[in-house]
Symmetry: D2
């Protein structure tokens, strides 16, 4: 069985999730398309790199991502760093002939994303962007039902991604609140996941019309070197710095195929934790999903018998997408880890088959263009065509 | 105890709900503000009027609403007719010095609504528009919590009203699909309920930006004289007539107080029956409601203890608005009838105290202006200021 | 259309519900089987009786139920008094040739219930016991699906009735906590509703094995004459009296047809308000119901397509039992009132057709025997055959 | 950091879950108490063992568990085999001075379990039984709230474990339907998880009174060597063999501390997948949990403000047990894997601290005694004291 040597750049929360996936993927999907080998992990200083190595089970630690990319034994570059470094690393990796998986959003803007796509296409290597939530089996089931025509033609799509980890005005000024690093706020950080659902399930978005707002203009600066995800509140005696990204966005969308819809994202929704939802109405039925209850897809068929018609609560399991590899009984439980394991499976499959996975940099680029359009519309109040 | 003689114009589904409320209100709210007397019911022919009289427990039947309005013994004119007759009847009633309750939407347009408001104000009588859903105790509880500042300043409002009774292309061409009668489609019929929630709970809407769409352009004409509500499908061999109103609307809204939000309404959402919802995020907490589970309000307080923080499922009962008059234990069950009983209680209270109830024609007029703005924005794709 | 003159004995909470049903039933079910006339209401003193007359819309007030029963113009005696008076009134009514509807439980014991059944059968009049929850359309739908064999043979039944209105040790010593008046505690008061579901949906119960417990041995005595339902806590400075009934019961059951099950009832379940539920597993599917969300029945068919199999959330409406008479769109909302309106419809239908309704005194008697068996098993810890 | 060499006996579904936990635990809990090393995996033939080795990332494969136990370099024996081999392996492991984790139920009977406990105690090594569901953070949160007295004294416990994977009469005759291998059916397989919840959260069970039933007396024999978990139906042309274990059990329980309760388990509940639930009522509040929505604990405090009182839907995250090691935002998602990762963390912590984990063989033994009592009571219909 082929082995694929992985170099992971960045050893934070996302590094944890990816490392788990590399270790566990063959346990779930067997025979595995390939065996990922956790070869080297890169972090910003020697101590952090060595800790990441020991913690995440890599063979080596490094603080020089360029040197790692130059190594001939590395097959996959896995980018788990803040958004502003995605392009530089990914382009270097592609230029070195590596396969690349990059955390989302692909980059800070559409233009920056395009440079990554161009490099990857020029290199001819496999490229993937880590919109992992579409790997949830219930979401993949929605895709399957739509493709099979079982809810008919799609009339509309409603997506939300609501969180509350930054609702506290004293939660710290993470890089996620700084435009130079993150590119945008809620739009890029979580809104793009909902946009990914929209494109994956319904089709290309033609134009948008958006409201974009910053609720909390300043936040306490972080003292330590490690970025905090706002959990547990910040140091409200700390000096405050400016937030120059959006806290909330709301957009109407027109799809190329005629469907319409709305997408809303906010990190200021008290009580919502990871409330990533969609609801889709078709001419023959409807679908609804809430990631907070991710083992379930709500499925409604209009032609069901009149006295027993209603949304079915379908728990995903062996009868559903990826079911052969996951757990043998529905509701044993899909967690965040499983979405990453499936992602890793699709990445490795792509590499061994030579067929680009989905979502790849092309998808990441198109999503970035939509994010650009949302931000532009938020400025002008006009409908903006997606480039 | 004062008696109030009621003349009800229209003996259909809404007549049933109103008649029940007149009979039951004093049973629930005692001592009652007044005793409504079901004096006379008016319908479009003698047989229907007499049936309505017998069925709904009125003393008399009539087919001449003008004559009924002229009667000095009538205190309240209750308008349960299609939208295109609201203005004529209400104005005549006001001119005759009657108190008026009118089914929603107040009229087909803002301009038409204004004539009703003007007449009512000139008459100095009590006027009310029947946006009954805000009488649901859980919605009134939301209002109370907001007014007491318990979720802080409101950041946003998301409202939906999703139904599926007209999703079938062969459901009959009710008057609700004809602009000359209904004024608009989903916007006026159900969207206005969501708009009423928005104004009631958050405040005045300053501007809107909307998508409005007709999914099903023709429907089978109805054969009989009685309007059908689309239930059970139409006669698909019947000649088809044009639908000239909207099936779905989606709007972004800006409130005068700075909050933002979205409202969506459709009657083509398979699997949604009476899915009238809102979610409100504030600086200190959140609220969520779904009329399909109307006994419950979801309430979240940000300052709850960290290890037991989350939406509370509050079942309304004696400790909540209108609780003294309704059932003695939460979840004995609020139905559609109870919302109308509360509405009747508020109407009678207004009449005996001489203080206008809420929502009154002023509210109905403002909601109509918002509906106008939504339709206009749907045409132009621009933000439209509410007049 | 036939008129039926009603004399209602007892003008409390139940009186309100019944009065509303008499007024509203023909509005919902038209042509009505008969028109109930609220003729006379009886209460324990003149003032209360007259208040009940005015509030509930009766023509006359009385404090002498015997005299009322003797009146030849009365067709129906409606018993809404505490349990210890049911037998005396019902027997007198039957002896006077009246139709009788009696609030549940039928009486304090099986033996007492038997005297009522005997009298009613001897009289040949219509008799009914007011287990209204089975009139919820979703429960009637469950019955229909079972009878049509759509979930196959029933394997088991799990029923609960959980409330919390007496969980507070200082909630007042209502008559519901006194054996001499109530007969039993939770067993009779709410457990019998769950037993009614079991018999209605599955069949006769052959034997039981129960745990019965009193959690709170004393409660503050009530000062006023009007019984309080424990809402809002009692006067904790008041003298305390002994509770001699059960607070909680839990029983296993064996049905005559081989199915097994469990029933639990408690009034000490903090957070549960009117949590009357069942879950039924059959050889071809399952059903689940929760009265707190009473518009819905959960329906699962084992032969559904493998990738879209799961409980369907069915909202009851026109396509379901009693749907022609209730509201025209599902989820407009079934409340407590509607269950009583349907009950009234079934009572009047029984009277005009001469066919006993269900549940009648025979059912009430059998349920009382089951309650006796539960209490007996709670004493002995042994399986007890239902007489 | 200490390394702990693991030998895993059995490479099926449970092997997958355990292997993932060994790989991932240090990624989540860092600094880890120890680093588990996947040293050797044992299966029933060479091919299966080597496949398990490659798939689950072990260094070596073996078909001789006795030889493996004899190896001095092995620290932990992990038993993932069918129930009938647990005792023999565990005792040998203990005698060899190994730490042991054994899948549940500990053994087929209390007596058999006792031999394991005795051996482990004699050896003085660490022993653990894999009732992993109590490791769900929401369940651990329930434990914490109870221990802190936040719902007061516990009145009752209701537990269920409902599945449907064997509801089809043609699902294959897995070893789980054979008493000689499994010991019992639903009682041991899934009922013990609910019993573990009961003991963990409420306390020791003193006596039980149970109904135990086999719904499907024969099933098609399995053709291949690999045991099937009934998924997808069996070969209904295959010869059928006898089922000699229970399909469903229902028991009342009395706790030593005076609380009462019920536990039900069945694998014939169509529509329930992994419906492992509890509901607990205390004198100051209530808790409810459903593993199918395992990120959530329902928490109700009686002393909440009257107008906003109700069950709180608490999503577990960093503020809750094990939160520091798991995901940084609630509802990112707990899956089956995370329960096993936490279990592995507790096992390794126990080994390095020398303090027995919970649940250990003592717990497994007591649970087996309760299972024995349930089965005995199912035979006699009498209350049976737990030994």
């Amino acid at each position: 069985m082929q082995k694929l040597n992985v170099a992971m750049i960045g050893g934070g929360f996302m590094g944890k999730a990816h490392a788990m996936a590399y270790a566990a993927m063959p346990m779930f999907f067997w025979p595995a398309p390939a065996i990922p080998v956790r070869k080297v992990v890169v972090d910003i200083n020697q101590q952090m790199a060595e800790t990441a190595r020991d913690r995440f089970g890599f063979e080596e630690a490094s603080i020089d991502w360029r040197a790692v990319i130059a190594r001939p034994d590395i097959d996959i570059i896995d980018i788990c760093t803040p958004n502003n470094s995605h392009a530089e690393i990914a382009i270097a990796a592609a230029n070195a002939g590596k396969h690349v998986i990059c955390e989302k959003p692909l980059a800070r803007t559409g233009a920056e994303s395009k440079t990554m796509l161009d490099a990857a296409q020029a290199a001819g290597t496999i490229h993937m962007v880590a919109f992992n939530y579409r790997r949830t089996p219930a979401v993949a089931l929605a895709k399957k039902l739509i493709e099979e025509g079982r809810i008919g033609d799609i009339l509309n799509f409603r997506g939300t991604y609501l969180q509350d980890w930054s609702a506290d005005p004293d939660s710290p000024l993470s890089w996620r609140f700084q435009k130079s690093v993150a590119g945008s706020g809620t739009v890029g950080d979580i809104g793009t996941h909902a946009v990914d659902f929209a494109r994956y399930l319904v089709g290309e978005i033609a134009s948008v019309n958006a409201l974009v707002k910053t609720h909390i203009p300043t936040r306490p600066k972080q003292s330590g070197g490690v970025d905090k995800l706002g959990v547990g509140g910040g140091d409200n005696n700390a000096e405050r710095g400016a937030v120059d990204v959006d806290d909330e966005m709301l957009t109407m969308v027109k799809f190329a195929n005629g469907a319409i819809g709305s997408i809303e994202a906010t990190r200021n929704a008290y009580g919502r934790n990871n409330f990533l939802t969609f609801e889709i109405h078709g001419t023959k039925g409807s679908l609804a999903f809430n990631y907070e209850r991710r083992d379930e897809l709500q499925v409604m068929f209009a032609d069901d018998v009149a006295d027993a018609r209603g949304f079915r609560t379908v728990y995903t399991g062996p009868a559903h997408p990826y079911g052969g590899g996951l757990w043998p009984i529905p509701a044993l439980g899909i967690g965040y880890g499983e979405t990453k394991i499936v992602e890793c499976y699709d990445l490795c499959t792509a590499i061994v088959t030579g067929k680009q996975p989905s979502p790849n940099f092309e998808d990441g680029y198109r999503i970035a263009l939509i994010a650009d359009a949302i931000l532009a519309s938020g400025e002008t109040g006009q409908w903006v065509d997606v480039q």
